[in-house]
């Protein structure tokens, strides 16, 4: 597909991202979880240049399922825009399954050197422990480790 921002080409721009909202919702009535996650990402991207850089580069479909409320979303990152779907959609690169508190803790992971999430402080250890205990499951991690780190950075409010 032609990318209008890719370089010099003798064609007019097909679309511009400057006037569009970075986060859109696929469903007419986004669930509370979808609205909260979308709102969180939008606020993060708007307020922090490093998060925006990650957001602008990420292409991935990420599912998040909250096991104790039986609700989830699919986040379709498209290089500078995001479409949030209610529920889990097909063709996901990564799927994160965890309880509500753990999902909130993922947003509280600190980011350290080289953009890697820190797993040795209190929040990090609690997230790592959930992973070991099987209370945090990440499907599709093989081959998508860098994507997981980028998504974690976009989520992080720290």
């Amino acid at each position: 597909m032609h990318d209008p921002g890719a370089g010099r080409m003798a064609r007019r721009k097909l679309r511009t991202k400057t006037n569009t909202k970075p986060v859109e919702y696929a469903d007419g009535e986004p669930s509370a979880f979808a609205a909260m996650l979308g709102g969180l990402i939008e606020a993060n991207v708007d307020s922090r240049a490093d998060r925006k850089k990650d957001f602008d580069s990420l292409v991935a479909r990420v599912g998040i399922w909250v096991t104790d409320i039986d609700e989830g979303v699919t986040l379709d990152f498209r290089k500078g825009s995001l479409v949030v779907y209610n529920g889990l959609q097909a063709k996901r690169d990564l799927t994160i399954r965890a309880q509500a508190g753990t999902v909130m803790n993922l947003s509280n992971l600190k980011i350290g050197l080289l953009g890697m999430p820190i797993y040795y402080d209190e929040v990090g250890r609690s997230v790592a422990m959930k992973l070991v205990q099987g209370k945090l499951r990440i499907e599709g991690l093989l081959g998508n480790f860098a994507t997981l780190n980028t998504v974690t950075r976009i989520f992080s409010v720290q």
Partner: protein, 140 residues
């Protein structure tokens, strides 16, 4: 001694519980915004008029917690709104506040990254409410 839910006495006891909590003190370090809880009326539950709880919280302490009108609570930096029976569920540990927000049972207004950054503080604040013995208007 048990106090009437969302009364001035309840607010004072709640404030005392928050200020006694070392967990809250550590988790809310750096917090500098007001929080309003809007408790929506449910006449069939003997809670005929909406009320507001205005919490002036600063750097790990509760400077004041007062019960007033819903309109006063709505002016706070962060506003959490739910019907009376939902708040009762939170205060009696039937409903986890984090889950309630993700499910839309508790509606949150305010800067999301800030409130998420203080998840532990808000969880401890919920714990503090559960420590106040309460007489509920629709019975215990």
């Amino acid at each position: 001694m048990a106090v009437k839910a969302f009364s001035d006495e309840w607010a004072k006891q709640f404030e005392d519980e928050v200020n006694k909590s070392s967990v809250y003190k550590a988790a809310a370090k750096g917090w500098k915004w007001t929080v309003g809880l809007v408790v929506e009326a449910e006449p069939d539950k003997n809670f005929p008029e909406s009320r507001g709880v205005v919490m002036d919280l600063f750097d790990g302490a509760a400077r004041s917690i007062k019960v007033g009108s819903a309109a006063e609570a709505q002016k706070c930096d962060f506003v959490i709104t739910a019907p009376y029976s939902r708040w009762k569920q939170v205060a009696t540990k039937e409903l986890d506040a984090t889950k309630g927000m993700l499910q839309g049972k508790l509606k949150l207004k305010g800067d999301l990254p800030t409130i998420v950054r203080y998840t532990k503080a808000s969880q401890e604040m919920t714990e503090c409410t559960t420590r106040v013995p309460v007489v509920w208007p629709d019975g215990n």
